[in-house]
Every structure is written in structure tokens, then in C-alpha cells.
Amino acid sequence: MQVNAKIYQETLYLQVAGELDEHTAHYARMAMDNQLESADFKQVIIDLSKLEFMDSTGIGVLIGRYKKMKQKNIPIFISNPSVQADKIFRMTALYDVMPKIN
């Protein structure tokens, strides 16, 4: 599990790589929150193209980050989910609060 971050044109890009499950969720939360606490961006794009595995634990992690950013009125978008992650996001209506972008 690895979280890579870069800021470009007021957008924070968070690339979540590796496997996201119960075992790695704690680290994922911490690593994402570290980046989300910096204040110099207006939106967040979470890139899942390097995420090799995710189960429903990932939903809890993402919703938790969404709630934190909502307080600051900063939107979060999801990009490049796998087929299975996409299925889980659709069944939980995650895209209603964190829209999918290309």
C-alpha cells in the first residue's frame, strides 16, 4: 500500500497503489490525511489506476476522507477504478458524493 501525492494547478492528485483491505486501511487513512491536511488545493482527484486490489473496506476509507473534505467544501473525484472497485462504488452509490472522472 502506497499513497503518492502531487499538486498541479490547484488540484491534489492522490494515487493509491497496491492492495487496500482491512490490513492496509489504517495506513491508507493516515497517508491520505497527511496530504489532505495541506491547504493549497481546491479539489482532489483520487487515482486508482495502480490499485491492485480493493474490497469494501475501501468504501469506508473513501467516505471518511469525503466527510473530512466536505467540511472544507473541497470536492473529491475518483479516477480509473478497476472493474470490481467500480462495481462496489456503484452498489454503494459512492459516485453520488465522489463523482467518477476520466
Binding site: 486490489f53 470490481q84 454503494t92
Partner: protein
């Protein structure tokens, strides 16, 4: 049910074993020559069931989780994941989407819903007088099985 191949695994309820469990089950299923999507569906469902054991069945102490997998010539993958933990008092409630007994822990309550949507069937039973057994089946799409010499063609 006649199984052409079976395996059993038992391991401690440490979260680090979730990755081991889903990878081991996936590796065993490869002999039926599943699609990549089918393998990932199975891995995801196994991960959900094992996570339930780690988080809910054994909340305070480490216990044993066991997984049995049976493969049929009709390309069914039958999986039983069992624990001897605290058990589930209301199976129907546990299966409801978004139901969680730990709402303060950023949990989605989608474990059983994911299992149901990624597998063909999911059955919950009591494991004797302690714990739970999750029985799941996925029937793989039909294609020639290389490892079995095409005998299930």
C-alpha cells in the same frame, strides 16, 4: 456433490492473513482456467468474508479461521469460510446493505452485499454452537480446462 479437487486452509485471525487467504484461494482456482474478472470476484468475496472473521468474529482475541474450497467438473467453485468466534445474532440484519455494528469505525457495512453480488450464491450458517460458516459458490463460465486435460469440456 462430487469434487474433483479440494483444499483446506487454517490460519490465525490476523489482518495480514487476508491477502494470503484471497491469494491462496485464487491460486487454487486457477486450475479451472477462470477469467481474470472471475478470479478477482472470488478474491474480493473471500477478502470480505475473512475480514468479517478478523473484525467481527474475533474482536478481542486471535482465533482460527478456516477455508475449504471444492471444485466441480461443472466449473463450480464452492468455498466455505468458518470461524469459532462470537457469532452473528441476526443473519438477515447482517446481510442488509450498509448495516454495520461498528458505525464509528468508518465501516461501510457492505461485506455481505459485495459477496452476494460477486458470487452466485451466499449462505450463512451457525458453526455448531460457536461462530459462523459462510458458504459461497461461483460457477465459472464454460471453457476448456487446460489443467484437467479438457475432461470437463
Amino acid at each position: 456433490m462430487n469434487y474433483i479437487n479440494e483444499m483446506t486452509l487454517e490460519f490465525d485471525s490476523h489482518s495480514i492473513n487476508e491477502g494470503f487467504a484471497r491469494s491462496a484461494v485464487a491460486a487454487f482456482c486457477v486450475q479451472l482456467n477462470p477469467t481474470l474478472d472471475e478470479i478477482t470476484d472470488i478474491k474480493t468475496a473471500v477478502s470480505e468474508a475473512v475480514t468479517n472473521c478478523v473484525v467481527h468474529a474475533y474482536p478481542k482475541k486471535t482465533g482460527k479461521i478456516s477455508i475449504w474450497v471444492g471444485l466441480t467438473s461443472a466449473r463450480d467453485v464452492d468455498i466455505k469460510i468458518s470461524d469459532a468466534g462470537v457469532g452473528i445474532s441476526d443473519f438477515e440484519k447482517a446481510r442488509e446493505p450498509f448495516f454495520t455494528t461498528k458505525p464509528d469505525e468508518e465501516r461501510a457495512g457492505m461485506g455481505f452485499t459485495v459477496m452476494e453480488s460477486f458470487m452466485n450464491s451466499v449462505v450463512l450458517r451457525k458453526n455448531g454452537d460457536r461462530g459462523v460458516v459462510v458458504e459461497m459458490r461461483k460457477t465459472l463460465t464454460h471453457k476448456k480446462c487446460v489443467a484437467l486435460g479438457g475432461e470437463n469440456d
